[in-house]
């Protein structure tokens, strides 16, 4: 077998090999069961509880969970705005990088607290190390928030009839200390030993073979990269993200990073199975996600490894596949695999330039973000999927002649209202954002010429991609877009903000409301949700609700581009 393909297989198998036991471990952590690490972490957690003055055993209802989450995020928002706008005089700034403008700081702050990590700047020139450490902290925090909310939903799904559903701080602190921190530490050490810098010193100066003097940026990169992948954050230390040789130096570091992208999103499915004691349901959900994932992955790999049609037409063979915008040390296969991983999981780190993907691969990358729940971001991916489950349960429940119920709880008008609002939010944000920018550009192309380096279909794709990435809290970009201007900073900021918190509030509210409802025992007439048929139903709902509503937009961007070069 082709080594590139073999590499992809190995990476995926390794994910599964780690994710299943990890999922069980996470389940134990949230269920407060004994784990091997208790002796180490109990005292650490206690410090945090004491510092924060919280009682981790006080049970909260869904509103209290949300209130805690939102309050915490607001505080960090203010803190981050302050740091980013005052970096120039704050400590740890050896390269004397300037402070950010208000609109860029707004965009960056939201970007990091919302787990998007869209970067309208380059870390080398726009960030001090203090700024980098601040946003690195948010990579932990935003991931921990998402995981805490997923934990809440798991317990809400499990409980029969109650509004006492665990403690937010308990879930959050444990997510950070017992899951993210140790895993990040392992990766950071591996990275540091494989050539990723970990230092607080400023730029280094080297002399190249030609005798030129080159200034090389460095910093606490290894730690930054570890959490960036683990928490599906994706915010790069350097501008080119994991395509940068110091951020992802070798095929080996690339393997670790790729595994880390998918690790926790996959593990959390099995965590759900463990907490609910419904392993079959976990496998059905995994199956649906995997099917969607493969449907995006396989054509992307084929497209990238086959090379660019336009170049083929010139009579140039491409034995390595489409290498424009890709790193030779990774190759087109592993890069294509990364593309689908990073977009399906709302990670958004890149090891190749998505702008240079063949048009259809670009579309599959966008589709991964448009669906945003094929594994999805840590915690939030499952929350998005939960909405699709609710919609599928509603329709298929009717189809078996009962008013719909999910895990013993009736789904009624109130839950449907919330589910529909969340389901239509994503198309609303993406399409409206793209519509506004298209309108502005179409009616005054000269004034906005700086936005698009490629007009035409590709330019449209760049704009569509930017909003899709923002709304999916993904953070990757089509590089050709000139996005560090107030219009993009602010509009993407708003999109990220809405697309982060509403899709958390919605599922948490539904799960909380359902948990408090009367429990209906299962009977032979009850729709079983842990069957392949139901999985198929969820998949169909995802395709029709999430994917098809973008069909006209995709037709004008990547599809038109694809057919026009064929």
């Amino acid at each position: 077998m082709n080594t590139e393909i073999a590499g992809i297989f190995i990476m995926f198998i390794l994910v599964m090999a780690f994710a299943i036991p990890l999922g069980k471990y996470i389940g134990k952590v949230y269920s407060n069961e004994k784990t091997w690490a208790d002796g180490l972490f109990n005292p650490i957690d206690k410090i945090f509880y004491k510092l924060g003055g919280v009682n981790p055993l006080k049970e909260m209802n869904w509103k209290q969970h949300l209130l805690a989450l939102l309050t915490m995020n607001l505080v960090w928002f203010l803190f981050s705005m302050f740091v980013l706008m005052n970096m120039s005089w704050l400590p740890l700034n050896p390269d004397n990088n300037p402070s950010m403008s208000a609109d860029l700081a707004f965009n960056t702050t939201i970007s990091f607290i919302s787990n998007t990590n869209l970067q309208h700047y380059s870390g080398e020139t726009a960030m001090s190390y203090f700024g980098q450490l601040t946003v690195m902290l948010f990579q932990f925090i935003s991931a921990g928030c998402g995981m805490a909310m997923a934990a809440f939903v798991f317990f809400a799904m499990k409980e029969k009839t109650t509004d006492k559903l665990g403690n937010y701080y308990f879930f959050f602190i444990r997510s950070c200390t017992r899951i993210l921190l140790p895993l990040a530490l392992i990766a950071a050490i591996l990275f540091a030993f494989n050539g990723v810098p970990m230092t607080f010193k400023g730029k280094d100066t080297i002399t190249s073979l030609q005798g030129d003097t080159v200034q090389v940026s460095r910093g606490p990169v290894a730690g930054f990269v570890a959490i960036k992948q683990l928490g599906t954050n994706g915010g790069g230390f350097f501008g080119p993200n994991s395509a940068h040789p110091l951020e992802n130096p070798s095929y080996f570091t690339n393997i670790i990073q790729t595994i880390y992208i998918l690790l926790i999103p996959v593990a959390l499915i099995f965590t759900m199975g463990y907490i609910l004691k419904r392993r079959k349901l976990a496998w059905v959900i995994f199956g649906v996600m995997l099917t969607g994932f493969l449907l995006l992955l396989i054509p992307t790999i084929i497209n990238e490894m086959n090379g660019n049609m336009a170049i083929t037409k010139m009579g140039i063979t491409q034995p390595m596949g489409s290498m424009e915008g890709k790193e030779v040390r990774f190759g087109s296969g592993a890069s294509a695999y990364w593309v689908v991983n990073t977009t399906c999981t709302s990670n958004g780190s890149v090891n190749a330039m998505h702008d240079s993907l063949t048009p259809l691969s670009g579309m599959f990358a966008m589709l991964g973000m448009m669906v945003n729940s094929l594994f999805g971001g840590v915690g939030v991916g499952f929350l998005n999927f939960y909405i699709f489950i609710i919609l599928a349960v509603f329709i298929s429940g009717l189809m078996v002649g009962r008013t719909p119920e999910f895990l013993g709880k009736k789904i009624e008008a109130r839950e449907m209202k919330i589910a529909m609002i969340i389901a239509l939010l994503h198309p609303l944000l993406i399409l409206t954002g793209t519509a506004i920018s298209s309108y502005l550009y179409a009616h005054n192309p000269t004034a906005y010429a700086s936005w698009l380096s490629n007009p035409g279909y590709h330019g449209f794709s760049e704009m569509l991609y930017e909003y899709t990435s923002s709304s999916a809290n993904n953070g990757s970009g089509f590089g050709g877009l000139g996005n560090n201007v107030p219009f993009w900073n602010i509009s993407c900021g708003i999109v990220m903000l809405l697309a982060r918190y509403l899709p958390i509030i919605g599922p948490v509210a539904i799960a909380g409301i359902l948990a408090n409802k009367k429990y209906i025992p299962e009977s032979a007439g009850t729709l079983k949700t842990d069957t392949g048929t139901f999985g198929l139903m969820v998949f169909a709902v995802i395709v029709i609700v999430a994917a098809l509503s973008f069909f006209p937009a995709l037709a004008l961007g990547p599809i038109a581009e694809h057919f026009s070069i064929h």
Binding site: L391, I395, M399, G401, T403, M420, K528, T533
Partner: protein, 680 residues
């Protein structure tokens, strides 16, 4: 009624009425209730504006004929949706009216009333003048003018006008069978009846109002589904509206007709147009099964029922017990025993008593009795019998006879005790017979389980419904019959409050319970149950307490009601799936058509190879319109329910309506396009 009901879906007079209604329903105030169709209504108005605009000389919107056709198709879509609702209403109304007609304008013999006292004078008035609380008299041959409750007398009544059942029934004052229905005919005797409902407020009137829409409320599930559909509609509003700037960017002018067509095709008009028809048809189907529902919600709830409480007698077993065996005691001559048994049953009017004589098969006319004294059954002695020629014969429950014998110093034979136990454990009822306070034998009474009832329970079990038998029998007998009939649970020696407690217990565990009842003492349980079906022959209290009334007084009707409820929900679910699955093909019809002139490369998406952009758009909207009337029969009849388990059912419906919903429009649109292409 069954005989009068035509099963044709579209009777011509109903169609005419429905066609007329389709237009009156265009009233925006009415359209507003249905958000999906309301957006089509707005779209149609916009298109009319566009047509006028073009007529006034606008060039950019395509030619006038094409725009007029699009407008017309949209308008027809609206009419089709309205027609679906109207025909469902018309059918329900026709059904209810034919019931009501029987009772209109029959003369009523009103008892004159002075103050609180009823005089013995009779005044003949038309039935429509009767008021609640009036008392009228009916004699043999009279048609009962109004629903009411017998306050005096007993009569045999022919209820075939309502139930279709030709055997007359007995109704009498005071008991659980005191209720009479207007339109039925008194065959014998004379009764005084008190009117219990105001004119226009009978259950039938309420049902007609429900069907007509004036008082029809959306059921909770209908509301939730409407939210889902409204949500989809909003998504497609976003998709369509944002397409305008996208088109601007791609320098592709898109006509208003194309925008509105795309929008109307994508929104779930099929289910949106049929939704209320499905709900009405559910109530109508119940009415066809001779069940009057007091709300649409009751039908919907019936589909969710987890537990069915069924009375043993009449539902599981045929009427009454029958004597099946005689066991003379040791040393007692069988002929003598049989004779004694027959003697003791001579005056026994109960069906059990009669069956004893039947089984004995001896000619009772040969009996010469000297001054026989018949002893009636009382609750105290719990036995009955006869005193004749110094012989005292008694028959009764084992322990009653045991008491009687032992009180008089005679032992109760062990062997008899064994027989009694044996009969009980086989589901029979033992009757012990004594002569002069000595046991002479045992009669075995057996319940006859209705043929086919096991299969029905099997079917219910597959639906996931637990059946519970309610009986006054002792636990041993109850258990035997429960096992034999295949019910899941039973309540033995049931008192009315036991039913109530059982319902509460199940409900507390989250299950929905249905029951049927007729007596006043059933009323609290009927009210407590999620679906309470009262028999029409039952007391007024029972009928008020339940949420359905069964005109046939058929205890197995609950099973049908459950199936009707399930059908209703399934029809909604499958048509929603179908409607949404249709979008795939419509996207592939319209999206390439929108951009084909400016982006010829997108021709590759025209996988149906439709003739031209205009024909593609027209075919899609025409398909979208005609699928509604094509599915009206399905909406009215309901999707067939098969008790094959939830997962299998989902697989089946997903395949038919989901996969079918993806494929059918590809074929349909292509065919229409071939036809349309002939004219363009």
């Amino acid at each position: 009624m069954k005989q009068r009901t035509s099963n044709k879906l579209f009777q011509s007079e109903l169609v005419k009425e429905a066609l007329k209604d389709s237009f009156t329903k265009l009233n925006p105030a009415k359209m507003f209730r249905n958000p999906v169709m309301f957006t089509v209504w707005i779209g149609t108005l916009v298109m009319i504006g566009v047509c006028i605009w073009i007529a006034a000389g606008e060039q950019s919107q395509g030619n006038l004929t094409y725009n007029i056709i699009v407008t017309a198709v949209l308008f027809v879509t609206l009419l089709f949706a309205n027609f679906a609702e109207a025909i469902a209403e018309a059918r329900g109304k026709a059904q209810a009216n034919s019931l009501r007609k029987t009772r209109e304008e029959t003369p009523a013999k009103l008892l004159q009333q002075v103050g609180e006292v009823f005089m013995n004078e009779i005044k003949i008035i038309p039935s429509s003048y009767l008021k609640k609380g009036d008392v009228f008299i009916c004699e043999a041959g009279d048609i009962i003018p109004s629903d009411g409750e017998i306050i005096e007398g007993l009569a045999t009544i022919d209820e075939s006008a309502i139930t279709g059942e030709s055997a007359p029934v007995i109704r009498e004052a005071g008991g659980d069978k005191s209720s009479v229905t207007g339109g039925t005919k008194v065959l014998s005797d004379k009764i005084k009846v008190k009117v219990t409902t105001e004119q226009g407020e009978s259950f039938l009137d309420k049902m007609i109002a429900l069907v007509e829409g004036a008082s029809r409320q959306k059921t909770p599930n209908e509301i939730a589904l409407t939210i889902l559909l409204a949500g989809f509609t909003l998504v497609f509003i976003i998709v369509t509206v944002t397409l305008k700037p996208f088109g601007d960017y791609a320098q592709t002018p898109i006509t208003i007709a194309a925008f509105i067509s795309l929008f109307v095709c994508l929104i779930p008009t099929t289910i949106g147009g049929l939704l209320s028809a499905i709900g009405i048809a559910g109530m109508d189907r119940a009415l066809r099964a001779n069940v009057i529902t007091k709300s649409g919600k009751a039908v919907e709830t019936a589909g969710d029922i987890d537990v069915l409480l069924l009375d043993k007698t009449g539902t599981i077993t045929i009427g009454n017990r029958k004597a099946t065996n005689f066991y003379p005691a040791h040393g007692v001559n069988e002929a003598h025993f049989i004779k004694s048994v027959v003697l003791s049953s001579l005056a026994d009017e109960t069906p059990e008593g009669k069956s004893i004589i039947e089984l004995a098969a001896i000619d009772i006319n040969n009996f010469k009795l000297n001054r026989p004294k018949f002893i009636k059954f009382t609750a105290e002695t719990r036995s009955s019998g006869i005193d004749v020629d110094n012989t005292r014969i008694r028959k009764g429950a084992a322990d009653a006879i045991r008491q009687l014998c032992e009180k008089n110093g005679n032992a109760f034979p062990d062997e008899t005790g064994k027989i009694v136990k044996g009969i009980s454990s086989n589901g029979g009822t033992p009757l012990v017979v004594s002569e002069n306070e000595k046991v002479i034998g045992v009669i075995e009474l057996q319940d006859i389980i209705k043929p086919g009832i096991q299969e029905r329970f099997q079917r219910l079990r597959k639906m996931g419904i637990k059946t519970v038998m309610v009986t006054g029998d002792n636990p041993l007998t109850a258990k035997y019959i429960a096992e034999k009939a295949g019910v899941d649970d039973f309540i033995a020696e049931a008192k009315p409050e036991d039913k109530m407690n059982y319902i509460r217990k199940e409900q507390k565990e989250g299950r929905l319970v249905a029951m049927m009842g007729d007596g006043t003492n059933d009323a609290p349980a009927l009210a407590q149950a999620d679906v309470g079906v009262a028999m029409n022959s039952g007391t007024q209290a029972a009928k008020e307490a339940g949420n359905m009334v069964d005109l046939d007084n058929d205890p197995t009707k609950l099973i049908e009601v459950v199936e009707i409820g399930k059908q209703l929900l399934m029809t909604r679910g499958t048509l929603t799936t179908f409607s949404i699955a249709n979008d795939v093909a419509k996207y592939f019809a319209i999206v390439p058509a929108l951009f084909i002139t400016s982006i010829p490369a997108l021709q590759a998406l025209n996988i149906m190879k439709l003739h031209s952009p205009q024909s593609a758009i027209l075919s899609a909207v025409i398909f979208n319109a005609i699928i509604i009337p094509l599915l009206i029969p399905l909406a009215l009849k309901g999707v067939a329910y098969k008790p094959i388990g939830a997962s299998a059912l989902l697989r089946r419906n997903l395949f038919i309506y989901g996969v079918g919903g993806v494929i059918v429009p590809f074929i349909g649109i292509k065919l229409i396009d071939v036809l349309v292409a002939l004219f363009i």
